[in-house]
């Protein structure tokens, strides 16, 4: 792939908060209280030992 083609790949815009920043922060606080997963749910320590 040429440098020019790669440069085209960098033109990418990300979306905005679907329901606003306030709702996002509220959800972060609620998510922290769910207590769903074991500390190593993603099995990071075995994948990258």
């Amino acid at each position: 792939m040429s440098k020019k083609e790669k440069k085209e790949l960098l033109k990418d815009e990300w979306p905005s908060y679907p329901h606003g920043e306030k709702k996002f922060i509220e959800s972060v606080k609620k998510a922290a209280k769910l207590g769903l997963f074991e500390v190593d749910h993603l099995n990071l320590s075995t994948t990258h030992s």
Partner: protein, 167 residues
């Protein structure tokens, strides 16, 4: 503290947020909230949803999905797939990275490739080795602590666009 940036939260950060370790989840939430209040725009990858939800029962998944509905999710488009493919090829040209490609998952490559954009967003991760040099540069760090008092370093990475373009 980082401000006015687009920040992609890696799966490990969401894992900590949803952790049974209350201290860890609280600290992850406080970090995310502080970043949001500092005028950063925070996102997650569609692959993070996959990593988080796989292996969970319906009840757990639905609870998490309900809250994650308010997160920005960067989905899987053709452009992003092409960029991830290009990053994979660039990794394989660097001997030190090629030798340890089996420890870097496809999800890590895809998530990492998302920050290779003209706007130069940041990636917040606890997994230093999943995002190799010289493609990723550390611009800041912070720490969060679990209930045992063990501190975990969280890295803010920026993509080195020149390395990607030349690779």
């Amino acid at each position: 503290m980082i401000e006015k940036s687009d920040i992609l939260l890696d799966s490990c950060i969401i894992n900590h947020l949803l952790s049974k370790d209350k201290k860890l989840s609280k600290q992850a939430a406080e970090l995310i909230e502080a970043l949001a209040k500092n005028h950063n725009r925070l996102s997650i990858s569609q692959f993070t949803l996959y990593e988080i939800f796989r292996g969970q029962n319906d009840s757990q998944r639905k609870k998490a999905e309900k809250e994650l509905e308010n997160f920005i999710v960067i989905d899987h488009t053709q452009l992003r797939q092409q960029r991830a493919t290009a990053l994979f090829s660039a990794y394989k040209k660097v001997r030190d990275i090629k030798q340890r490609m089996d420890s870097i998952s496809d999800c890590d490559i895809f998530i990492g490739s998302l920050i290779f954009t003209e706007r130069k967003p940041l990636l917040l991760t606890c997994d230093f080795h999943d995002f190799p040099r010289p493609f990723f540069r550390e611009v800041d760090i912070t720490k969060i602590e679990n209930k045992s008092g063990k501190k975990e370093i969280c890295y803010f990475f920026q993509a080195d666009l020149e390395t990607f373009l030349e690779g």
